[in-house]
Amino acid sequence: MSNKEKLKIAFYWAASCGGCEVAILDIDEAILKVIEIADIVFWPCAMDFKYSDVRAMEDGYIDVTFFNGAVRNSEQLEIAELLRRKSKIMVAFGSCSSSGGIPGLANFYSAKEIMDYAYLETPSTENPDKIQPQVKSTVKEGEIELPTFFGRVYSLDQVVDVDYYIPGCPPVPDQIVDAVMKLATEAPEKGHVFAGDKTLCDTCELEKHDKKIEKIYRPHEIIPEPGLCLLEQGIICLGPITRSGCGNRCINVNMPCRGCFGISPNVIDGGAKFVSALASILDVAEEEAAEEITKSILDPAGTFYRFDLPKSLLHGNIRKIEGAIK
C-alpha cells in the first residue's frame, strides 16, 4: 500500500440533512486511517473546494464519490451528473441517495401543494403580495438564479448510474470504515450493498415466539415488556423487511424499527411485503374483524415506505407526483 498513489475521494450532499457528513466524522480516530490511504478532494461540509474545482478535474479523476441525499432540484441533478463523470466509482451513501429517505415522503404531495403551503399558507407567513421563489428573479443590482424544482424526489440511481450502496440513516461507523477499506482494496460486484444480507430480525436480541396480534399499539400507548419482540406485542416494527447491519440501535432503547437500513435483499417493494408480513400475524378470522383492526393501523404508506417511497413500485402518490400519470 505504501507506494500506491493515494485514492482520491469526494463527499457530496444533495437533498440531505447533513447527518451523513456527521456520520463520517463519527468514525472518530479511524478518519486518520482513511486519510492515510486517501485524499479528500471535495467535501463542501468540511472543506473549501468549490464546484469550479470539480469542473476543472479530468473525467474519472476522482476514485470514489460518496454521494448522500436525494435528488430534488436541478442543481442536485447537475452535480450528481458532474460527479458521475468525474468519478470512477459512485457510491450512494445513506438512505436518501439509496432510496429517497425521509425527503422522499414529499412524494405524497405535489410540488405546488408544498410550495403554496410554505410560502402562502403557514400561520406565521406574512406574504400579501403572494411572492414565491423564482428560478430567475431581478434585484436592484442584477439577476439572481435559483435551481428549478422537480415535481418529485428521486433516489440517486434513478438519475445516474450507481456502483455501490451504503444504506442507513445515517450509516454506522463500522459499516463506513469497512466499505472504505473494501473499496480501496477490492472490487466488489457492481450493485453491492454494504449492509447485512438478512433482515433485522436475524440480529435482534429480543425473544421471538409464534406471533398472534390481537391489538395494535402505537409506541406511546404502551410500555413494552422488556426482552420480548415488539411486533409480537402489537407495536408495528419494520424489522421483518429491513436489512440488518445497524446494530439494532433503536430496539436497544425499546423503540421499534422504521426501516432506515433499506429493504432486505430480493424484495422489490417493501411496503407490499410488510402488508403481507403484518397481515400474516394478525389474529383475526373474519372479514369485519380484519376491517376493524386495519382501522388502527395508521398511515400504512407513510410508515411502511418511511425511507424508500421514491423507490417503491409506484414512487409515491401517483395523482400528485409530476409525470406519473399521462
Binding site: A15, C17, G18, C20, E21, V22, D26, D28, E29, I40, P44, A46, M47, D48, F49, K50, S52, R72, N73, E75, L105, E113, I114, M115, Y117, A118, Y119, T122, P123, S124, T125, N127, I131, Q132, P133, Q134, V135, S137, V139, K140, E141, G142, I144, L146, T148, F149, G151, C169, R218, P219, H220, C250, N252, V253, M255, C260, L298, D299, G302, T303
Partner: protein
Amino acid sequence: MKKISIDPITRLEGHGRIDIFLNDAGEVENAYMVIPELRGFEKFCVGRPVEEMPRITPRICGVCPVAHHMASAKACDAVYNVEIPPLGKKLRELCYAGYYFEDHNLHFYALGGPDFVVGPTAPAAERNILGVINKVGLNIGKEVIKHRSYGQRIVEIFGGKPIHGVGAIPGGVSKGLSKEEIDELKMMADSCLEFAKFTIKIFHDIVLGNKGYVDMILSDPWKMDTYYMGLVDENNHVNFYDGEVRVVDTKGKEFCKFKPHEYLDHIAEHVEPWSYLKFPYLKNVGWKGIVTGQDSGVYRVAPLARLNASDGMATPLAQEEYEKMYETLGGKPAHNTLAFHWARVIEALYAAEMLVELSNDPDIGGDDYRAIPTETPTEGVGIDEACRGTLIHHYKTDENGILTDVNLIVATVQNNAAICKSIADAARSVITKGKKIDEGTLNIVEMAFRAYDPCYACGTHALPGEMPLTLNIKDKDGNLVQTISRK
C-alpha cells in the same frame, strides 16, 4: 454590473451560494446569500401520526437532530396535554447537554474554527479539521476527536443512535439508565468539563491573543445592532431545553417575553423571490427590509443572541467567562458578529457543567420516566434552543393524532436577514476598488456567515414547486430537441 459567485459556500451545514455584485469601479454594490435547497417537511408531515414526528423531524438536520427530536417531543407532549415525569425531563436534559457539547465543539474545531486556527487566507486545502489537527498537533487532535465522540456517546446512550436518536416520545422517554451507563456518563462528563475549559483557553490563546483577530471582532463592518432572542429560565438565565422566549432590543432592554403557544403573536415570516429561505422578523416592529437597528424587526438567534437576551448563565464557570466576554466587548448587548464564536465556547462550557450536574444527580437512575398520554390529541407547540437558534415546532392533529397542520420555524432561518447583511458588509469591507480579489478574500466573506454556524438544511425544511420553468431537452450530442415552458 459584474457578478462573482462563491459556489457552494463551505464549512457549514446546508447549501448556499453568495452572489456579489460589483459596479464598474470594482466596488461592492450588494451581496446576496442565496439558498437553493428545499425539502417540504411542513407539508409532507401532514397525514403522519404525531408520535412519529420525533423520528421524522430530526431528519431536517443531522447536525442538530437532538434539537428537533426534543422540540418535537415537547410539541407532542403539548398535543396530548401530558406532563412528563421529572426524571423524564432530566434524562432529556442530560441528552441535550451532551448534544450541545458535541455540536458546539464540532463547529469550533471543524467548521468555523479553522479560519482562526489555520488562518482565513491560508491555502484552501488546509482550512479544515485536518488542517487544524495538523496545526495543533496530533495529541490535541485526538483529544478533539475523543471529546466529540463523548458528546455523541451521551446522545447514543439516551436515544440508541448518536444521529437521529429515538429516545424521546410523547409522555417521556423510552428507556432509563443502567448503573454502568451512569458510571460511563460521570466519567465522560468530568472529561468534557476539562476539555471545555481547555477550549476556552485555546480561544483565548489563538483568537483573543491575536491582535489582528481582536481588531476584526471589534471593527464596524463586523458589528450589527439587532434585537436578540433566546430561551430563558425563571431566573432569566440561558436555558437550552425549556423556558420562555425572551427578546431584548438593540439597547439590551427586554422587548417581550412569551410562552411557546404565543409565538404567532410575535414572529412573522417574509418571502423574497431570490431565495428559498424565508425571513422571520418581529411582528410588532415590522419588516423594513434587510436592514438592522431599533426600527427594524430583524432579530438574531444562537449563542451570542442567547447570552444577550439573558441576564447570565446558570453555572459558575460559564458565568465567569460570560462576564469576561462582556467586559472585553464593552458591555451588553454585544453586537459583534464574530463574538458568536466566543459565546459558543462559553455555552459549550455551560453544557459540560450541566453534564456533570445531571450525571451526578442521585435520582438519575430511576425508572419513572414515562407517562402514558390519556387525553385526546389536539394542538401543541414545543420550543427549545437548537445550537443555532430558537426552534419552534407547532402541530395540529385530528382526534386520532394524525397531523393536519405543521408549522416549523427552524433556528437558522431567523438569522437569514442578519446573515445576508453580514456577508454584504464583509464583502464591502474586503473587496475594495483596485484590490485584487483572490480565493482568500472570498473566504473572509464566508467567515461572515460561519460565525452564525448556519444550518440551511434546517432553515429550508419547506419546499416550493410551481414556478416559471423552461426545459431545454437536448439529445446526447447536445442538440436542442425540444423546449417546454411553463409560466
